[in-house]
Subunit: 339 residues, 2 copies
């Protein structure tokens, strides 16, 4: 499926993007989304140049006003002269389209500003997983000089929450007066929050929601997150009204403060999580490529069929595939596992 | 992390579960969720016994009434004397809890019925991925004799939609009068639908929603799904009111009809997708175990650190890890990649 399209090489595109060519940047992001060979060559060049941007994940239930808040954050960051990249993970599919036009149009306000770059990514169809693809896209923006990279996702799916949680700072949005099921989703989201924002602050109940959240977080602390470590710090809780930019300057300040005051350990944990997500995704792709290579394709296909027919259990099949993989790797051809 | 807890072996648990022991079944499902050694042994025994159940994915945006509809489907299926297993993927986390109590309580109505078995699964924290874990859990229910296995997920995340789409028949729920962002999510969901249900049929606008959907689907056909194959069949559209069971018998009939009329090719495609999801998840786990084994742990850790510090790009690191993996596999010890 991934073919090297005729055109500039990944390295050339990377050089052009670093030099400020926005068309090259756009092409690179497409290559990253498609997992093409161009992306691999480009990433090898870009990766050492990355690591300086502040990656901020922004997530929340549908209707909490994420895109409006992102638009307001862009304005605020630009006022301070900072360049901003945005990766908006779109819940709708590439097939039926359906980007959330209103929000995207709002963001078009920055269309003439070359220090703002907004990219919508489909949330489905990433072979290496959504988190790995999003982190790679953020790395491209990081390496090409964007100081602030916002990763916006709908916080109602595991992969989507993982994207936001892979950032240096994770902002979780709430809106006052949400239904029961949304509340339950929220409970899961709060765990990954460094900053909780009650948006739609002009609605009745916003301040009350913020108070309730503060009480909740005090009552439940200290909690152990999934990895068993102690909660490093209770999340800050802010109220914003994204539509009028009320509280947005304070939010940006809180985002900066979170990064500045993060312990070295907390910072490393996020970076290592991102490194692992990318490494495992790439390894997984290479293992699959090796098993789909001519020498193994027949065995692999037959085993998948046998598992599908319940003639072989998936563990036994995996063991046989590992044997095939060992032979391929032992043949010494590292190329067998590359495209 | 996964340790073999003291207690019956996976094979013993599998035998007991097949013989109808519901406590053994519950323990097996926990083992599957934890990815323990017990689960592997049990799955080796259970897998050949599975493949008969009708797996039905039920998904939809928050608030569309999935759990109520699942409860109504259970009643309808039991009326026909069929046994029903339910895997409810809960959007809330294992840490903060927050199961959607109302719905779960409604399902407790079947607590005394041994031909109904309901299991809530957290949507986060599955090493092998949510889809692989859910398919494994469905396989356990299938092998232990449940005829109908319902997999219920919130259809707003990639992983969650993948779970529902891995079933033999995928039902997508809509509720009339939903917001913009939810509509966009819906567009992505419709692609995986074999049956579309407009629930809350007693609300104004339900019939109009159904008509709009029919027009949409006609207007947009023929569409090419992500894998490039032609759309096998336009989804059937039904209206239900889950709270009063209106239309639920018709829905169950449509679910059965979908399976009966599915082409062999369509059926195989779903089975192969399930087999692949499980195989790649198991392979991925084994590759990671091999790289975490004493012989490789130091190299792996150092490479992850180097990638995290942007000193090595993730592709170069992946290549070095593959070399380490080759050595481990060549050492001939298949045990190195097992727990």
């Amino acid at each position: 499926m991934p073919t090297s399209a005729p055109g500039p090489s990944g390295t050339d595109l990377a050089e052009a993007a670093i030099a400020g060519d926005r068309r090259a940047l756009a092409r690179l992001l497409t290559a990253v989304e498609n997992g093409s060979l161009v992306a691999e060559a480009a990433m090898r060049r870009l990766y050492p140049a990355a690591g300086r941007a502040h990656l901020v994940g922004i997530t929340g239930a549908p209707g909490s006003g994420k895109s409006t808040l992102v638009a307001a954050l862009i304005v605020e960051a630009r006022r301070a002269g900072r360049s901003v990249g945005v990766i908006a993970v779109d819940p709708s599919s590439p097939v039926t389209g359906g980007a959330i036009l209103g929000d995207r149009v709002r963001m078009q306000a920055h269309a003439g500003d070359r220090d703002v770059f907004i990219r919508s990514m489909a949330s489905r169809g990433h072979a290496g997983g959504l988190a790995a693809t999003s982190v790679a896209a953020a790395t491209v923006m990081d390496a090409t000089g964007f100081e602030l990279v916002l990763m916006e996702t709908v916080g109602t799916g595991q992969s989507e929450v993982d994207v936001a949680a892979a950032a240096d700072t994770t902002v979780v949005l709430e809106a006052p007066e949400m239904g029961d099921e949304v509340q339950a989703i929220k409970a899961g989201l709060l765990e990954v929050a460094d900053i909780v924002v009650v948006n739609k602050g002009d609605r009745p109940g916003a301040q009350r929601s913020a108070s309730t959240l503060r009480t909740m977080l005090v009552a439940s602390a200290p909690r152990a997150p999934l990895d068993g470590r102690p909660w490093p710090k209770r999340p800050e809780i802010l109220v914003t009204t994204a539509t009028t930019a009320e509280g947005v300057a304070e939010l940006l300040a809180a985002i900066d403060r979170h990064r500045e005051t993060a312990t070295a350990e907390a910072r490393d944990r996020r970076r290592i999580a991102r490194a692992e997500a990318q490494l495992w995704a790439i390894l997984g792709q290479r293992v699959r490529l090796a098993l789909a290579a001519p020498a193994n394709a027949a065995t692999t296909g037959a085993l998948i069929e046998a598992v599908a027919r319940h003639q072989v259990d998936p563990y036994a099949a995996a063991d046989r595939l590992l044997t095939a993989l060992a032979t391929t790797l032992a043949a010494g051809s590292a190329d067998a596992v590359r495209r």
